[in-house]
Structure formats: structure tokens, C-alpha cells
Symmetry: C2
Subunit: 302 residues, 2 copies
């Protein structure tokens, strides 16, 4: 009966009997796609755009997206170099929404941590010209945007009418908190999407990147019991051991991380394996998939 | 700067200046809708279809959906009456997917807990005739199904072509684990969706209801480190104190819970308030919403 639990997620490999019955080519399973990748299907994230957030509970690896948020990416690099976040805290964990960190005293004269050489205020980076970034389209449509797909490993949305493209608020997206003014963020306060993707935030706030590894570390943090998931008492906040730019670390301290490219035939096959699930457990392959339900595989290759 | 954090979710009340500028009626905010409800906008869940799952960390309230899964609902009632789950455990917590509980020894001769008078195997209850259930439609489309909306408080999908309706795998949906055979579930092993809604499971497994309260209790459980989020060692499993049908509890032990009806003008206004966010913080109201992003408010009315 343990099998019953196991079956909910991934079934066994493709059944040859079913393939024969169908008399047509059956799409591969994700396991089959992963087993048949070549080196060129993977990329090593740029150390200058990769950040380690280290907590007591483990490491979170974030990839920045300078093609979409260059000013925020630069400020985040600067803040990491200054060790700005070390000893600050996760201040908010709201169920089905976000984990958020920064300086709880930010904005309070005298009490706030100095931003050093980082900028205090940055322009909103909500969207970019669509023709400035690559785009691999998902064919299945989207409730929130005319087109969705991927750009260099990030889930994105596009609008042909206004010629814009933007990072999508999928699960694991990382953004920069702001006040009511569009240009009031600076990247010192960051949030990660942890629940059902809040796509209504798209084009309303600057996304700066995406968590590649460690969502389990963030997802299991104690929920804040204050309004909107803020921790009510200072001692409830979760300390940040450090946030570092990988480029600032010696080679020996870098994880051998690789991310599947999103502009390849292999990724297309992976998407197809998730649009039509052919593991034995599945009965009705739906033939479609939401952007935010497509996994982007990551592997450690020591 | 604390304001910056706060602003990410809910802004202040509607600005009269903006309303005046627009010269057209501005939809209400969700806070405004909630502040103006009447008694008839709320319903008390049927005690015979409401279940309390009590863990060390708190209570989870589940509403069963007998209109969609009558056989499973009946078996779950029977199992609760037998106190079948008391002392069993949560066996699986997979990030961005499910929390799942039951008997880790189920199916093993001699080691499994007796199912008593409950049925061992139930028919698949993946979908029902669409005309057998009520339906309030969401106008914004859906990637996975031709139509989506709500039926008596549950997010549902429909297909006009085959005349079926089914519960949707939104965040907080509760389902019955099964083996590869469609009719291999019995409701003794249940899962709750905790991440981005895995809608590809729709029509592949029997959903039995939905969590009304306590998703924060489930969401913060330690992630299982085994394959697919199973706890690797027995001592990691999270004990279930009890699972009870509310109808079996004295009035004094029942929570005074009310759920917003989904077939009212008030709910329609609430949906509109989420399709077009007019809190001051928002800059671009998107004008659409995904089914699984629409909250169904719950309140305690002592």
C-alpha cells in the first residue's frame, strides 16, 4: 500500500504494452527525458548572477535576471559584496504567498542598517522590450498574459500589443519589495513566491530572479502570525547567516550546479512530457500545462 | 520602510482621488466587500461533511464534497467514527506539492490497521454529470479546462463537450491517494495540495473536499527528505492526534465557522475585487484571475 502513496507523483517507466496498444508514438516521461540529456542541454549559471542565501536550515540558491532587472541585479551584487544582509532576518512568512527578508528597521532614522555604496532607490523594472530578450513559447495559453514561455531559463510573459516582456510571478520567483511608489525598491528587501503563483503581481513590482535550489528550506519556515505573515516578535525572525554573490567566493566554495537550458529540443521534450503525462499512474493526460507548473530541472555535477 | 513590506499584499482603502480621476465606478477592494457582507452571504458548513484533523501544531478543518465524491465522503465519515486515523501519521510532505497521511503499513498483511466497517475499495469519483451540480462561472478562462468556477463553495472545472464537472486541484484541495488502478482508493489515505495547483491531477484521482482553515499548520511541516517528500524514518512522521467528523462532536466542541457562499452577488463582487486590484499599492490591475487564485473567505463568528 506504500505503493499507493508513491504512485501519486511519478509512476514507473513507460509501459511497452500501452505504447503498442496506442499504435502511435507516445511522448516520453520526464524521467526518460532526464535520462537522455547531453552536456549541451545544461548550463552553468553565471557566478556574477548567482547568490547564496544561507540560513540555519540550509542554503537557498538564487539566479539573478539582469536582462530584466539590470539596476536591481547590480544593487543586489553591491549589497552582497558589502555583506549587507548578514545578521539581518527573514521578517515575513505568509502561507501560500511569500517569504520576505531585509532590515526590520529599514527607513527608521538611526536604526536602519547603512546601505553603503548601494543605491537607495531604483527605477521600476517591471517589463522590458520584448525584442530585447530571447523567448521560447509555451503553446498552451495563459489566463494572465497573451503569451508565456521562457527566456534564458526564466518563466516570462509577453504582450504582442505593447511589445513588452516580463518575468512571471511563478512559484520560486524572487522580487524586490517596494512602497506604493513604483520606483521605491532598491533590492535590499527581497521576497520569494512560495505558494500558488500570484501572477496578478506581474508588472506591478520588480522581479529580480528565481530560486534554483532550496525552496524546501524556505517553504518549511514557521509562518508569521502577524498581519500578512509578519513575525510579531523580533525573536521569531529567522536569522540570515549570510548572502553572498558566487563570483565573490573561491571556486572551492561554489556548488557544481547546472540548470537545464530552456531553449533546446530537450527542454521542448520535457515540456511535452509534462503536458501529456504517460507514467502508468496517469489515466487522462490533459495535453496542456500552465507556465508555472513546468519544472526547470537543476542538477549537481561534482 | 516597514510600510514597504506591508504594501506588498494589501494596500489601504480605495483612494477617493483616484476614483474621481477615473470618472467611472471603481470596483471595490476585497476589504470593502468583506466589510459590507450580510448574514445571507455566509453559510455554515454541514457538520456531517466537516472534519477536524488535529495535529500538535494545530487544527485543520476540511469540508467534504459529497456532491462530487459521495462514496469517498461516506467512507471518510465511517473511518472518522471508528477513530481510524488517531495515532497514525503524516507520512509525506513534499515541497510545492502535497501533505499526505494514512497508515504507513497499509497493505501489509498483519501490520496494517484494520479498516473496520469501512470499504476497502471504492469506485473512482473523478467527475460527475455537469447538470447534477450547481455552477457559478468565472469568466476568465483556464489553461486546463473549457470552463471553471464554483459549485457550492468548491472550485470546479467543466467540459461542455462531455457534460462533466469535477473538483479542481487548487491549493487546499483534499484528495484520496490511490494505486495505479482508478478504483483503488478508499479515503483512508488523504493528501492536501500545498503548492502551485497541480491541475494535471484533475480527473486522474478522486478529490474529496477542501481545507477551510489551517493550511498554515500543514504548510510549515518539515519536508520529507525521501523520494517525493516521504519521511525517511518512522520517527520523522508527524503524529495525528485525531480526526473527527464534526457531527460526532458535542456542540460545545464545534468551531463557529462560516464560509462565504460562492453563488451570490457578494461573491461576484469579491471576485471582481481580485480581478482588478484597486488597492493603492497596485499599478496595473490585470483584469483577470486564475480560478485557484480566488480566495474563498472563512470567518469565525462566536
Amino acid at each position: 500500500m506504500r505503493h499507493r502513496f508513491v504512485a501519486l507523483c511519478l509512476g514507473a517507466v513507460l509501459s511497452p504494452v500501452r505504447a503498442e496498444e496506442a499504435k502511435t508514438p507516445v511522448p516520453p516521461t520526464m524521467a526518460e527525458v532526464l535520462a537522455s540529456t547531453s552536456t549541451s542541454d545544461w548550463r552553468v549559471p553565471d557566478p556574477d548572477n548567482t547568490v547564496y542565501l544561507d540560513l540555519e536550515g540550509g542554503r537557498v540558491v538564487i539566479e539573478l535576471a539582469p536582462a530584466f532587472a539590470p539596476a536591481h541585479a547590480a544593487n543586489i551584487r553591491q549589497l552582497a559584496r558589502q555583506k549587507y544582509w548578514d545578521g539581518l532576518t527573514i521578517v515575513r512568512v505568509q502561507e501560500n504567498y511569500v517569504v520576505q527578508w531585509g532590515d526590520p528597521n529599514a527607513g527608521e532614522d538611526g536604526a536602519a542598517r547603512d546601505l553603503g555604496e548601494a543605491k537607495r532607490r531604483l527605477p521600476a523594472e517591471f517589463a522590458v522590450p520584448a525584442d530585447a530578450v530571447s523567448f521560447t513559447r509555451l503553446p498552451d495559453g495563459d489566463v494572465y498574459a497573451p503569451q508565456v514561455g521562457w527566456s534564458a531559463g526564466f518563466p516570462v510573459a509577453r504582450d504582442g500589443a505593447d511589445g513588452k516582456a516580463w518575468l512571471a510571478h511563478c512559484y520560486a520567483a524572487v522580487g524586490a519589495g517596494r512602497d506604493n511608489a513604483a520606483d521605491s525598491s532598491n533590492g535590499s528587501e527581497l521576497y520569494v513566491v512560495t505558494g500558488h503563483s500570484p501572477r496578478h503581481l506581474d508588472r506591478n513590482i520588480t522581479l529580480v530572479g528565481r530560486v534554483l535550489l532550496g525552496m524546501d528550506v524556505l517553504g518549511a519556515l514557521p509562518r508569521g502570525t502577524g498581519a500578512m505573515g509578519f513575525y510579531e516578535r523580533a525573536e521569531q525572525r529567522v536569522p540570515i547567516k549570510s548572502i553572498r554573490l558566487v563570483a565573490d567566493l573561491p571556486e572551492s566554495e561554489r556548488l557544481p550546479l547546472q540548470v537545464m537550458r530552456t531553449d533546446t529540443r530537450t527542454f521542448e521534450r520535457l515540456v511535452e512530457s509534462r503536458r501529456n503525462r504517460h507514467e502508468d499512474w496517469f489515466i487522462v493526460p490533459v495535453g496542456k500545462i500552465e507556465l508555472c507548473n513546468v519544472p526547470i530541472p537543476v542538477r549537481l555535477v561534482p
